[in-house]
């Protein structure tokens, strides 16, 4: 049992509310991603969990023990947590082995735990190296191993992959997630990268302007965002005005079935670009190709509908011959999610907090 529970956490810097009442539960043995745009307070949240910052209100419990809240502020080194910062921050004067052994007592150092975690992150045999002899990705792996070694209640990862090449990042985050899982560790990873959060985490917590907007499994955050802001933040979104009649939305793309029960009336419908299919058949709406962004494995196609609406479709390469200015037939695959029309579609600029994301 190493659950982290955060209640009503408030942290201010002068006039700015970096965290304005955060409630959060990090389940034991799982990896939770805190996702949000720059300045949403996610790094501040991590620093509060780690004990680097004092809370202004609220409380934090780790394994049921109150570590911060009220007058209590358990110092970092008594919290049984471990941090993996953005740039790794290996101790430059210590070898890989000594870095990993830093948080271990003498007995644990001799028990083979160092070799164990080194193998876990795929660096077996590199223990004698000094940090400057490692590549950026290897440094980050050592930083993760160092955090895992003392078997902390929680591992806190602060945008640990953002300084790395895109090609390295995917492989590394898979390996890190596997290492955490193999070790049964509980983890919190802070990131502004939607793809990263959705692909590594068991639970995604979306943070905006110092508040939790949604906390759910990655698939439900993507498919069933609680509002339009989350919908647009976690992935590409096609938003269509629509009228609901008996559970079906009438949109510029034709009739679209909805998830959940929605009362009749005006709504905004969320369709993901991969749900927009280009067909050769006659069933569907005719659209003009305005844009074609080729990505290799897939492509984003910008389309203009007869009523002037612009939408985006994601197609697998070779799915259809797309010619700029040409006409195609489109239809929506699967069900869509509807939102009340009233709130603004575009997110207002988030309140800048002092610590960038």
């Amino acid at each position: 049992m190493s659950e982290v529970v955060v209640n009503g956490l408030i942290k201010r810097y002068g006039q700015v509310n970096a965290l304005a009442g955060v409630d959060l539960r990090v389940p034991s043995g799982q990896l939770t991603a805190v996702l949000g745009p720059s300045g949403c307070g996610k790094t501040t949240l991590l620093r509060c969990l780690a004990g680097f910052e004092r809370l202004d209100a609220g409380e934090i419990r780790i394994d049921g023990v109150l570590v911060a809240g009220g007058r209590r502020h358990l110092p970092t080194h008594r919290r049984n947590i471990a941090v993996v910062p953005q740039e790794g921050a290996l101790f430059p004067h210590l070898s890989v082995t000594d870095n990993i052994g830093y948080g271990l007592d003498r007995a644990a150092r001799r028990s083979g735990r160092i070799e164990e975690v080194l193998a876990l992150v795929g660096l077996a045999g590199l223990g004698a190296r000094m940090p400057h002899q490692l590549s950026g990705g290897q440094q980050q792996r050592v930083a993760v191993a160092r955090a895992l070694a003392p078997r902390p209640s929680v591992v806190l990862l602060d945008e640990p992959f953002s300084a790395l090449d895109a090609s390295l990042r995917a492989g590394l985050r898979h390996d890190v997630r596997e290492a955490l899982r193999a070790d049964g560790a509980t983890g919190v990873i802070v990131t502004h990268d939607q793809g990263e959060a959705l692909s590594v985490a068991d639970q995604v917590v979306v943070l905006r302007a110092g508040r939790v907007v949604q906390a759910a499994a990655p698939a439900s955050v993507y498919r069933e965002p609680v509002n339009l802001w989350v919908a647009e933040f976690v992935g590409d979104a096609v938003l269509l005005p629509a009228v609901v009649e008996q559970g079906t939305a009438r949109t510029a793309l034709g009739l679209v079935p909805l998830t959940g029960a929605v009362p009749d009336g005006s709504v905004t419908v969320l369709v993901r670009p991969e749900q927009v299919r280009l067909t050769t058949g006659t069933e569907g709406v005719t659209a003009t190709v305005l844009r074609h962004d080729f990505h290799g494995h897939d492509a984003l196609v910008g389309l203009g509908l007869p009523d002037g609406t612009h939408i985006t479709a994601r197609i697998l390469d070779g799915d259809a011959a797309v010619v700029l200015g040409g006409e195609v037939t489109v239809r929506v695959q699967g069900a869509a999610r509807a939102f009340p029309t009233d709130p603004p579609v575009r997110p207002p600029a988030p309140t800048p907090a002092r610590l960038a994301g």
Binding site: I81, V83, F91
Partner: protein, 494 residues
């Protein structure tokens, strides 16, 4: 911190004792005005000359294809090992007519331009070449890039070096005395030695302190605008070197000329005196005893200073704020006080507060700590600022308490900084004269005091061995500092 306050407290107490009228009578005289003008003028002239010479030399040895640049780097830094009074003594013993403002300015410049050279050279080597490349790509020529980008990059280093030079000149005693340039320090010493005029000396000291405060405030104000940000990427390409072309030989000649003036003249002069033989035979044991005293006292001073500087330096780097800045500035004030004033105040302190220390080497070590604390604090703070606070956070998160983190992470990382600070304090302690003269236990002579006593009675030949030994011993920590500044590093292949 109290160490830096002792002299100030002393000045305060004695000034109050003297009473307002007496002070006003001493203060508002033409002589004080002239002294102030001359001291400031000397500080200004020497600082400007040192900045020009220091930045120019630093640029030549770090950024151009100058032939023999590593040799020149060492030659340019070596004057640090020559105390001003030895340089002045060398010049006077070569050309006895030399005296007054401009010779003093010349000697002080030649002795203190390494204070600008070393930090600027380090900054030039560490500067990100990408900024200069961007400037060039935006259509700025070489010269405009130099003035608009390079000079801005090295500005904090230049300012720090210039401040040290200005403070050094204001508090210098040896060179101005030997060259008979009438400045505050000399006037204070004369007032004490000849007239036993403590109040006069006191008032003059207070004015000197006021000038120093003015200088420090000005420097703080300009520093605000020089905010720097450093890129995150660790691995930088080495800066490409500028090809001097036909200008290389004039450049070499200029550096040779400076080296001849700064090192050649003292070397030849001391060598001649040494060859002429000591005036008294059998002086070798005395010289060795003096060298031993110099070493032990300076080492004790360096050790004490580092113990005091460590918490201050860490505080300055890790918890910047108004209080820290104030402490930092206060430490500088101690550095700027003339050794005479510090010496006097510590005698007062020793007799009235800490009698067991009086007439021991520890009181002298305390004087060195008062005088040289900022040198050590600066070295510790800059080393601590370079090592990321993130490392300490990670260490804490791995379950290590504050003391363990200090011992296992912070201290090992700033060890080079501690070493550099200790070397600098040791070096300056070896060279220190006035406080040593006043505070040494009776019968204990150091190289500096023996040298001073000999020159005072015109026994130049007797002074020579002390001078030579002093310069040779001082050259060791100087070498350490040069090596640390990166001037001697081999070129990295890109």
């Amino acid at each position: 911190m109290a160490v830096a306050l002792i002299p100030l407290a002393y000045l305060g107490v004695r000034t109050v004792e003297a009473g307002g009228d007496r002070i006003a009578a001493e203060l508002w005289t033409e002589r004080v005005g002239l002294l102030a003008l001359r001291s400031l003028g000397l500080a200004g002239v020497v600082t400007v000359a040192c900045v020009l010479l220091g930045v120019g030399t630093a640029f030549l040895v770090t950024r151009t294809d100058l032939p023999g640049r590593r040799l020149f780097a060492v030659l340019a830094a070596l004057p640090l090992a020559v105390p001003t009074y030895i340089a002045a003594f060398a010049w006077v013993s070569t050309a006895p007519r030399l005296a007054g403002f401009w010779p003093a300015a010349l000697v002080l410049t030649l002795c203190s331009y390494p204070y600008v050279l070393l930090p600027v050279a380090a900054a030039l080597r560490g500067a990100d070449p990408a900024q200069e490349e961007v400037s060039r790509s935006l259509g700025r020529g070489g010269w405009r890039t130099f003035t608009a980008v390079t000079l801005r990059q090295i500005r904090p280093a230049t300012a720090a070096g210039a401040l040290l030079v200005a403070l050094y000149v204001l508090s210098d005693f040896g060179a101005v005395s030997i060259l008979r340039a009438e400045t505050f320090t000399r006037a204070i010493f004369v007032a004490l030695e000849l007239g036993f005029d403590r109040t006069g000396a006191l008032v003059l000291s207070s004015v000197l302190v006021a000038l120093t405060v003015l200088l420090l405030t000005g420097e703080t104000a300009t520093r605000r605008r020089g905010a720097q940000y450093a890129g995150l990427s660790g691995a930088r390409r080495p800066v490409p070197r500028l090809s001097l072309g036909a200008a290389r030989w004039p450049a070499v000649s200029a550096l040779v000329a400076v080296a001849v003036l700064a090192l050649g003249v003292p070397a030849v002069s001391l060598g001649r005196r040494l060859a002429a033989g000591t005036s008294r035979p059998g002086a070798l044991p005395e010289v060795l005893a003096a060298a031993g005293n110099s070493l032990t006292v300076s080492l004790a001073g360096a050790a004490l200073t580092m113990v005091l500087a460590l918490p201050l330096g860490l505080l300055a780097a890790r918890a910047p704020g108004p209080l820290t800045t104030a402490l930092d500035r206060l430490a500088y004030l101690g550095h700027a006080l003339p050794g005479v004033v510090v010496g006097l105040s510590l005698i007062f302190f020793g007799i009235n507060v800490a009698y067991p220390l009086y007439q021991t080497r520890w009181l002298l070590a305390l004087a060195y700590a008062t005088l040289f604390l900022p040198l050590a604090v600066g070295a510790v703070a800059s080393a601590a600022a370079q090592s990321s606070a993130r490392l300490e956070e990670v260490a804490r998160s791995l379950g290590r308490g504050p003391w363990t983190v200090l011992r296992t992470v912070t201290l090992p990382l700033i060890l080079p900084g501690i070493g550099a600070g200790a070397a600098l304090v040791f070096l300056t302690g070896m060279k220190e004269l006035p406080a040593t003269l006043l505070l040494r236990p009776t019968g204990t002579d150091t190289l500096a005091t023996e040298l001073w006593t000999s020159t005072a009675v015109g026994a130049y030949a007797a002074a020579a061995p002390y001078a030579v030994l002093l310069v040779v011993i001082s050259a060791l920590p100087t070498w350490l500092l040069v090596a640390r500044s990166g001037l001697l590093d081999k070129e990295k292949r890109s």
